[in-house]
């Protein structure tokens, strides 16, 4: 370990060698220049851009910002929106906030700086997106939220295209309950819930309880596992629930992306069996991702509620175009989605986004 004879002094250091007085003056001038530039915006504008009134005579540009691309669903949605925009000859600017609400606000403002004609946004959550929507509103740029609506706020205008989470979950779980009824015995059930700060997770949880209410003779809910949309937390929660209730035979996951965790827990408890095999656990999910498709094909998954990504992408773009054309657009556009199961897999798989991902 080396030692120094005296303490380093940054002030004295700054007066020695490379860091001369001249350099200090240069630094101050440079700092002043950069900070003054930031505060006064004296730089040239590299892109004066066409005026919005000239939008009809030039190709439209739409900014697409996603909060994350962490799951297959978001990647599929991102690609579906870009494909839909390009199919309509609309120029696309894209950015991803990587889970950071502050960065997302900056990226939306960047779109505004580039004078986009519309913005499609997947917000970080219902509340932190409000400043971004306000910024778009103030700039007179229509903004459509994909899959996550914003919380109600005074004077804030946006359109949201969302799956009807509650209804679609209710239909999916009702199908699972019917499967359970056909076994002729009572089932103990587990529900894996998402991040309860996410309105979609709340809708799915409510839809689950809507479907099982009044069905106590067939299904008794004995475990509710919080996942916070985290696979590791889901796995640990499912393992614990299976230890506490080894006779659980009915599991609904609030998102298909948690299936790898649930399957791992079932396998370690030797409870993962195909439909029709003794000991099969009735499984259902939500989203319609590639894992769910594979599990359906292989005969392990009973049903999943599919968000129709292509419908949602089409509706997002149409909602923007309608607003630009001055038409009235409802604040919420619902994707009814559909339940896919062993009985309609061949018929419905063309509309299941996870099936397309799985085939890539």
């Amino acid at each position: 370990m080396t030692t120094r004879p005296d303490f380093p002094d940054p002030v004295c250091d700054a007066h020695r060698g490379r860091a001369s007085v001249l350099a200090r003056l240069d630094l101050r001038a440079l700092a002043s220049l950069v900070l003054a530039g930031l505060l006064t915006g004296c730089g040239p504008s590299a892109d004066p851009g066409p005026t919005r009134s000239g939008a009809a005579s030039r190709p439209l540009t739409v900014g697409v910002n996603f909060e994350t691309l962490q799951t297959e669903y978001w990647v599929a949605g991102f690609e579906a929106i870009k494909t839909e925009l390009k199919a309509r000859d609309i120029r696309v600017l894209e950015s991803v906030a990587d889970g950071d609400a502050n960065r997302q606000l900056q990226q939306v403002r960047t779109f505004i700086t580039r004078r986009v004609d519309g913005i499609i946004l997947v917000p970080k959550d219902a509340k932190t997106c409000i400043p971004a929507i306000k910024a778009a509103n103030e700039a007179g740029i229509p903004i459509v939220l994909f899959n996550r609506p914003a919380a109600a706020a005074e004077g804030v205008r946006s359109v949201a295209v969302v799956a009807d989470n509650r209804k679609l979950t209710r239909e999916t779980v009702a199908f699972m309950v019917e499967q359970a009824r056909q076994t002729g015995r009572k089932h103990k059930a587990m529900v894996v819930v998402g991040d309860l700060g996410d309105i979609n997770a709340i809708g799915r949880k409510d839809g689950f309880y809507d479907a099982v209410q009044g069905q106590e003779a067939v299904v008794e809910v004995v475990a509710e596992v919080p996942s916070e949309w985290n696979q590791e937390k889901a796995r640990a929660g499912v393992v614990n629930a299976l230890q506490a209730h080894p006779d659980i035979s009915f599991i609904f996951s609030s998102s298909d992306f948690l299936f790898p965790s649930i399957v791992a827990a079932l396998k370690s408890a030797n409870r993962y069996h195909k439909i029709g095999a003794p000991g099969h656990v009735i499984l259902g999910g939500f989203d319609g991702d590639a894992t769910a498709y594979q599990m359906l094909v292989e005969g392990y998954l009973d049903a999943t509620g599919v968000q129709d990504v292509y419908f949602e992408a089409e509706q997002c773009v149409q909602a923007l175009l309608d607003q630009l054309a001055g038409k009235e657009v409802p604040p919420v556009i619902l994707d009814p989605g559909f339940v896919i199961h062993q009985g309609n897999l061949e018929e419905k798989k063309a509309r299941m986004w996870g099936a397309h991902v799985a085939r890539r």
């Binding site: 370990m1 080396t2 030692t3 120094r4 303490f7 380093p8 940054p10 002030v11 700054a14 490379r18 860091a19 350099a23 240069d26 630094l27 440079l30 700092a31 220049l33 950069v34 530039g37 930031l38 505060l39 915006g41 730089g43 040239p44 504008s45 590299a46 892109d47 851009g49 691309l69 600017l93 894209e94 950015s95 991803v96 990587d98 889970g99 950071d100 609400a101 502050n102 960065r103 606000l105 900056q106 990226q107 403002r109 960047t110 505004i112 700086t113 580039r114 004078r115 959550d125 219902a126 509340k127 932190t128 409000i130 400043p131 706020a153 991040d195 309860l196 700060g197 996410d198 916070e228």
Partner: protein, 313 residues
Amino acid sequence: MLSEYLVAWLCLAYFVALAPFAPGFASLDNLRTILAYLLPILVVSVGLTLVLILGGIDLSVTSMIALASVVGGKIMSGEEGWLAGHALAVPVGIVAMLGTGVLLGAVNGLAVTVGRIPAFIATLTTMMFVSGLAIWVTLSRKIGGLPDGFLVLGQRLWVAVGIAGGAAWVAHAGLSRTLYGKWLYAIGHNVRAARVSGVPVGWVTFGTYVVSGGFAGLAAILFTAVLETGNPEMARDNLLDVVGAVVIGGTSLYGGKGTIVGTVFGVLFLALVDNSLNLLGLSFYSIMMVKGGVILAAALVDTTRNRWRGGAR
């Protein structure tokens, strides 16, 4: 040698080089956007700079921001706040947010000095506990309805510049003009030599973690005011940006070297890179790789410099 001077010139060179190619990069609105984005990150980075100069690390700063944000929301929110609509809601909320950071910083300081737990483990544990606490307190719900008197702190750019600039200046003055600053560099360079020379190592270390916590509390005020929400996940994904900006600014991961001016330009450089690559329309994956590469390059320069200095600590 990576120093604040080099990073400052790098910022200018990068800005001049990219301005013709990144549409709107140099426009007034965009420069304001960059500034608004970087101010909260700057404040937390300044606190972390002090800890790194000391030769420590504080992994818990972003989780402190999350908890302080929740505490502020719980006090001030017009929808569910304990002091909803009360005239003292804003000042009490601000003091509580700062106090949350200071308190957690004190916990880290005690763990490192009295408990003699390595800073990495002590602050990692704090990060895990505090993150869990913030989510448990709110059940993951975000807290809206914050009063306008609070939101103005983040949404009027000159106010936010004043807060962040003032905080950075105080830290800069403390480092370069006070005995505390000399002690900090001394401990970072060689803790044994510092102790033998009479530096109160324990108190300086404890105080630095407290100050870092205070800066995290201040950053929480800016983040919460900008995003209008008390959020248990606030700044959760910013740790890489914060550490990266401080290292790019020339602060050594080995301690004993670094300045606040360097950190200011490190934060600015990362913000310029992020913003310009977005304007250029690069994909998310490309931007992540470029930013990772820039931070890696800065860390390599730091390691090489440390080796040349013979400081194999």
